[in-house]
Structure formats: C-alpha cells, structure tokens
C-alpha cells in the first residue's frame, strides 16, 4: 500500500474540495484524512489530504503528472505531494547549548520523530561528544567574520551532498545568511527564546527581566531575511514571578525552548505546515 500527503492552496473558489476528492476516488484512492482552511481576509483556500492506494503498481511520479493535468491549471493550484514513507532529512545546527540537542536526539532515538538526521553541524566542537554518543556524524564548521562566506559554502556543500530537506537551528548562535535562506525557503526552523513579537533580537531573557513580565515564552519560526520576523510555527509560555533572577528565567526558558522546538520539528516533518504571506496554517 502507498500513502500520499497532498498540500494545496489557491484562490478560494467553489468546487475545489469536490474536484480533488473526486479525482482521488476515480484513481482508486481512499482518502484517510482531509482538512481545509479558508483565509477570509485574503480569500485563500488551503487543504491537506492523505490518500491511500492499494495498487502495487502505484507510482508517485505518474500520479503527480495525472494530478497536474487534471486539476492544477484548472484551479491555479500551488501544491506539494509527498510519499508518506519517504522520511524527510533534517540537518541540525548547534553551537554550545545542549538542552535542545539532547531533547531532539532523545526523541529521535525513541522513534518519536518521523525523520532522518544525516548530520549535526556546529561552529564549535563542544557538542561533538553528544553527537558521537548518538552515533550521528558531526561536522565542525567554525565561523569567523573573515571566513563567514567560506563557512557558508561549506555548509551548503554538506547540505547538498547529504540531500538535506530542512534545517533546524537548535540554539545555533549565528545569523544565517540569505545564501542559505534562499536555498531553503520556509525550511529553516529556528527557536527564539521569547514570546515573539515581544523581545526580538539578542538577550530576550534580560529584556523580559527588565520589563518585569509575569510570563515568558518561546517561539519556533521559519527563518526569513528579517530577524525574528518569519512565520510562527509554535509558541508556548510559562508563568514566572518577581522572584526569578535572569538565571532562573534562562533555566525555566530552556524547558520551553526544547518542547516548542521539538513540536515545530514534528509538525514540519509530518508535512502539517503551510506558509502563506508570512503566516502559517497548521493542520491537525
């Protein structure tokens, strides 16, 4: 049996759902999941659909061709189609903090994550022993002002040679340049340690302390050119009090960061996220 996941969006218009579901039925597909969303402000229709095919002769390439001819032009669809058993490949970028890394690798080990991790990359080598203990290749690519561009070419080369589908910045403490962003649009996931859009930029826990907030947060988002302004995938918060020092805020925040980032990874890896106009639609 083969299972596909289809994501589409287009201008909202009558008949899309019926046409797509009908197309699947005519091609002997059994729809096992369907969900849709209409953005009424922008008049855009979004749909996510999972469909099973029993035929052993099923070919994703031919089926994509069929789908294209039947529906894509008719409705002017933007679309992506995946074979469910093809796991996406995720590169992990880290620096010196290990809490997100441990959390992700623990889940990976226990089979909770539906993805492959071809390698871990860092601008430092502090976390290499952790990579080793989980038996995942580790690349040390130092980044200094003078060598930044060279480092990025090295990164790109590794990403391409390992057929990486998306990148996760697990507290990677370097600004990612447009070179990577353009190659991986809405495919680089960052964890920012504040409740965005509050406390954009560096040292958000210090700013939170200064402002005297009663709740801190963490935000996972796709990287775009503008700092901390990309589409938000997941957010969570925790209550704090006046008795929290900056150090306490940082410790409490670590728990948020790792859970929020891991949730965002799962949503992305399971193809449940669509991006439109710098916002996400998150399917259930």
């Amino acid at each position: 049996m083969h299972k596909i996941t289809l994501l589409i969006h287009c201008k909202d218009q009558p008949g899309i759902i019926a046409s797509v579901t009908n197309f699947m039925a005519l091609n002997n597909g059994n729809i096992v999941y369907i969900d849709q969303h209409v953005d009424r402000e922008q008049n855009i229709f979004f749909m996510r659909l999972e469909c099973e095919f029993n035929s052993s002769a099923f070919s994703i390439e031919s089926f994509k061709e069929l789908f294209k001819n039947a529906l894509v032009d008719k409705f002017n669809l933007k679309w992506r189609m995946y074979l469910a058993d093809r796991k996406p490949r995720m590169a992990l970028f880290v620096s010196k903090y290990d809490h997100c890394l441990y959390d992700i690798l623990g889940r990976y080990n226990s089979g909770e994550l539906n993805l492959e991790i071809p390698f871990i990359l860092s601008n430092h080598n502090d976390l290499e022993p952790i990579a080793k203990s989980f038996k995942i290749p580790f690349f040390h690519v130092p980044v200094a002002k003078a060598t930044k561009q060279k480092a990025e070419f090295k990164q790109l080369e590794l990403l391409e040679s390992h057929k990486v589908d998306f990148i996760v910045l697990a507290r990677y403490m370097q600004i990612v340049s447009n070179l990577l962003i353009d190659k991986f649009p809405n495919k680089i996931i960052n964890i920012h340690h504040s409740f965005l859009p509050a406390f954009v930029g560096a040292k958000p826990y210090h700013s939170a302390y200064k402002r005297g907030v009663k709740i801190i947060g963490a935000t996972s988002h796709y990287i775009t050119e503008e700092l901390d302004a990309g589409p938000i995938i997941e957010q969570d918060v925790a209550h704090v009090s006046h008795s929290y020092s900056i150090k306490d805020l940082i410790a409490k925040g670590r728990d948020l960061e790792k859970i929020v980032l891991s949730n965002a990874i799962k949503l992305h890896a399971n193809r449940k996220v669509m991006v439109f106009n710098n916002k996400t639609v998150i399917f259930s």
Copy 2:
C-alpha cells in the same frame, strides 16, 4: 443563500468523503468547511461539513430527502443536518450560584452565543432578579423529595412548550432523572467542578483540598444515567498551592467553571460535538 451543517458517522469504509462531497457538488452546493476523524480502535468514521447553496428555492426538507436516498442506506450513515440560520434553543437550569449564569448571560447579551434562551428555570427563586435584569422569562419550580416527579413533569412541559433543543445545568444542584435524560440524550450539558474522573460526586473542592493536589479543574459533560460519567465536552485546569484554603479553591474554581461551561455551550450550539460510545469528537 442557505448554509447547512451536516454531521455523519458510520463504519469506516473507502469512498465516503468522495461520495458526500460529490453529492454536494452535484446539487450545486459549495463546501466551505470539511473535517473528519477516524476512530481506529472502533473503526468509526466521523465527518462534519458545511455547505452553501445559492438557490433561493433551496428547501432543507427536500435536500434531506435527496441525501437520504442517495447516501444514507448505501453507507449506513447516522446523520444530522441543520440549517445554519436556525438558532438552537437552550433552557438554563440554575439553583443559587450566580457566577455561571452571569457569564452566560453576559455573553448572550453581547451576541457571542449563537442561540436563543427561551427561559431560565430554578428550584429556588434567588436568581430571579438576574433573569429579570436580562429580560429573560424565569420559572420557579421547587423540588422536594415528595414533589420531585411532579416537578419533573412541570419541567418537561415547559421544555416542550418552549421548543427547547438542549438544556444547560449552570450549577443546578439537583440530580436530573432519567425522565429528562431519555428525552434529551446528549443534550443536557452539566458543569462539574473537578477534573473528571478525579473527584466524582459531591464536594470535589473538599476532596481536592484533602488530597493536596497542585492543580484543580472543571469538566463540562453530557448528563447520562451514571453520575459524572457522561461524555466529556471540555475541561480546563488552574494551578493552586498549599496556601489555598477550601474557600480559595472554590473561588478559583468559579473562574474555571464559567469559562469551561461557556465553551461547551458554544461547541454544542455550533454543532461541533458528536458523541459515540460515551466519548466526544469535537470539530474545530
């Protein structure tokens, strides 16, 4: 324009989604919402669908007939179909506590609730002034051991003469008998002041205090024969500490109770709840 909401469930089987969406398209309907759920343990398929029809000649009765002939027998469907502009009618049962009542009537007044309130009924008359200030009919139906059955007949009579669709027990402090439950299956919504199934029965805040829990909860559920064991619609919780007296727990709990009950009312009134085997499916 007319809009219908359709809820169906049946044994899971291939082709249902395509058949239903196709049927709507053939009848010139435009599907504006579709969501489905498959209970894999019990192999049951659930679907909620909203569909718009432009024809001024649209008749819900004829359309129901068409739907029945085309699909109901074929898939052995259990189904309900509503006209969206027909607001459900909700009777409010209260006793002496007023916090849920104020919350519901405040929302009702502000247009947040998509329903009619034909009357408020109570076994006491303490809350009559509130009903009056909101200009809603109030019936005082005292309940004593000897007169309990007579009171219930009176209740039934009021419910029928006012064409009530569902009942909300907004901290109504009487056990509802099978007479009402049978007439309103999965249509009587209760708010229980604990995180069910913890602390079933009377005085849950006292039990929570005794056990020393760090979180209290509230649960809205449909009334069934077994006490506090009906299908759960909505739950929420709040953190508490050793410093909370029973009185403090009760005060904190009031905030939970009113929000949880109002949310359950909205879900039910918007036809987003399906019940199967004593559990709910809640559509978004």
Copy 3:
C-alpha cells in the same frame, strides 16, 4: 482583635527581618504572615507582614508612630501600614464594553472582592442599566477633545468626594492624563488586551492576527505616563490557531481580559502588590 498589613522596602541590609519581627513581638503582636523578597540586581529588600493585636485599645495611629520612631529612620524604610478591616474604595471607569464590568460586579456581589465600589463612571451611558441593576451609583462624564480637561476635573472631584483609593479602567477607552496619574500613582489599574510588551497601543488583536501568533494574551498593569509601559501586575494567555478570525481573537481575548483584570484587582485590594522601578513584587 485588630489586624494590620505592613509593606516595606529599603536598601538590603542585615537585621531588618529580626528587627521588625522583634518590634511586633515587643508590642504584643502575633505575626500571622511574613514574606520577603530581595532584588539582588538593585539590592533592595521588600517585605509584607500581617500582624494581629488582641488589645481592644489598639490604635493604628499610635502604632504607626511607634513603628516610625523605632525603625523607619534606622533602616531608611519606605513603608505603608493598613488596618485589614478597612476595605479600599475602588472607582470603576468603563466605556461601552461590558464583559469586564459584569465579571467584576458578579464577583463583588458574591463577596469575593474585599473592597467597596462607591461609583462607576463612563464617558458613555450605555452601561448605566448594568450599574443600576447592581445598585451602584453611575456617573456619565462625556469626554470630547474640547472638554477633556473639564471632564478630568469632574472626575477628580468625584474621586475625592467619594474618598476613592484606587481606580480600575475596565476597558475604559480614553487615555488618562497626567492630572489623574499624578494624584493616583500606581493606583490606576488598566487591562491591556495583549501580552505586553507585544502589541502596545491600539488594536492589538488586529496586530496579533497580522503577525500570526499562536498565543494571545492580556496584561493588567498600573498606568504611567508612557502608554502601556507601566508596572505589570498580572498576565495570562490562551492558545489560538490560524483558524481564528480577528473576531474570534477578540471573543477569546475577552475571557482573558476579565480574569486577568479581576485577579489584578484582588491583588491590589489585598495589598499584595509593591512597585519599585517600574516593576512589581507580588506577594502570595
């Protein structure tokens, strides 16, 4: 029996706790609550203490004098002392939204709030019937550009003649001027409908919608000269999704606003809030 609440802050220094507790014991007081906080960044000591005196001859004025002579100069204390049975008097300012008003008055009616409400004031008269149904005096003080200053003098006059201790802006849709702020420093409580410091200013739900956040919030804070930048008393949040329209965000936000504001009122009325350097210390 008499009970006092004492709030002090000063430069952190050894011996304060022992000196104060000792002073209470020497004066036949029984401490029933003590809590303290040290702000290590600014080296400031905060303390809240409740103490009971059995003597029927106890006079708060004499006791204040005693305390002042014994300790205030020695430790250079900033301090406030209250008789617990003297309820603070709170003026409610509203405009047209009623959800916070209903919530506050419902709690007031049920005895949950330890305060007096001498009057409700509004720049509109839409909510006068609600005030009437709760039997609380209502003053309509319209505010237009030309009459703004006159209106504020009228407000001040009412506040003074009714011996108001603090003001609550329950979705009052006017900027409060420095005239009032100077008379009621850290005594005007506002509810802002966002998770501050995100979305300062007007229409925060519209901004939240545009940014695509996954969580919305509400913040209760003291009014200071700078808009939405005063000391934060209480915050809470709720999860939302892409499926929420602006209208949905507003409806969901109303529940946050009323709970957060009522909690802030309770903290203030129970003298559990201290303000220092634009931040609050909230005692348990």
Copy 4:
C-alpha cells in the same frame, strides 16, 4: 561565609517567628529568606528560613545544639537544618524508558541541578550506555519474583555505601517495598503518568483514552505504602483531543513526565518541600 536552611513545623502559636528570627540575629546570622505557612484546618505552623553567617568559625553542629536548647523544646518544634553547600546525593532508579533519564542527566550536566548522582540503578541493562556516556556508575540489579527480596537488600546496600540522601524513580517499573520506604520516608520521588488521583495504577494513558478526557497530566509524589497515594509534590497537564491515539497520548505525556519529575527533584534538592499528614507545603 556559611549559609543554612532551616525547616520547622509545630502547633501554631504566637511568637514563633519573632523568637526564631531573634535567635538568628543574636547569633550574628543574617536572614536572607523567610517564608511561612499556617494550615488553619490542622492548626500547624510551617516555616522555611535561610540564614547567612560570616564567621569562619561557624560550625553547623554547635549551631544545631544552640538552636535545640533555645527553641526546640519551648515550641515543641519538628525541625531540619542543612548547610547550603552540602549537596544532597540522589540515586536514580530506571527501567527501560529513557526520556526522564535524558532530561535529568542533561540538566545535571549543565549545572542546573544542585545535587550529586552517585549512581544509576536499573532492573534491566538497556540504559547502561546512557549512564556511561554521562560517566555515572551504573548498577544492574535484576528483579524477579523469587529474587525480589535479595534485590532489595542489594539496593539498600548500594544506597548506604554511597551515602544516598534520596531516591528518584525515573519511570522505574517495579513496586518499591516497605523495606526501602521505611528507610527513606518522604525521600523516594516517583513520577506517575496521570493527573492523580485520576487513573491510579497501571496503564493510565489507556484509561484516559477510554474515558475521553480532554487533558492529560503527570504527577510527581513521594512513595508511601499505598499505591500512587503519597504526598503530591508537583503536577502539570496538557490539552489533548479526540484525535489522539493511545500512542499519541503516551508521546505527549512523556514531555509532561520529564518536566514534572525534574521540577520535583529541584524542589526536593533545594529543601523546599515539607510533608505533613500526606500533603506537601512547597516553599518558593
């Protein structure tokens, strides 16, 4: 400088706070933290206090003696006194699940936990590689029906020879016998994967699924003779929906379990927990 933490409880009575704070002042101590709680139902007074002493000649043994003579008999105090720089020693018991173990060891490594881990013990050897990668001694003590008592003597021997102060059952899948409970009263911390008292016993996620709850929880508590009925230290919850399979509940629950258990460990290790009558007082 030396810092002590003092925990006391006794029948509530006037003058305790003043007497204790005075005693500290007379002995040249500077109180840097004080918090108290009165259980009004049982009339019990609880206090936690931290006090610093500058004298290099300070001896905890002599000071305990002084305290005992001055105050313990007078107020009939139950008390414990610790030197802050003496880290408690925690033994970790595990079976096959690794998520709590990774979480604890990640925090331990990053310096977040104020404790020593002399060893990890398991009835299986699956997790030995993790212990090794963190360079912590690992003991494999198999438990079978016939050998259970022998295993427990082995456990006791290890606990004693390693001077263990408290035990954490990080998803250790064996019932701990009275032999250990008696030796470590309120010193064995368990994580139960439900919101107690709901779903006591085995397979709580299966029970939660069956009941159709909308929220799942995790509870950390001290082990007592009665299963899952010991004093609750910490609880947390997460929202779930009808779409969660049992497997999904288990995955979501893992995040709760690890955070709740780690929080409980921190509270215990920082001597912030007092137990009385099967309930906890948790100081801030």
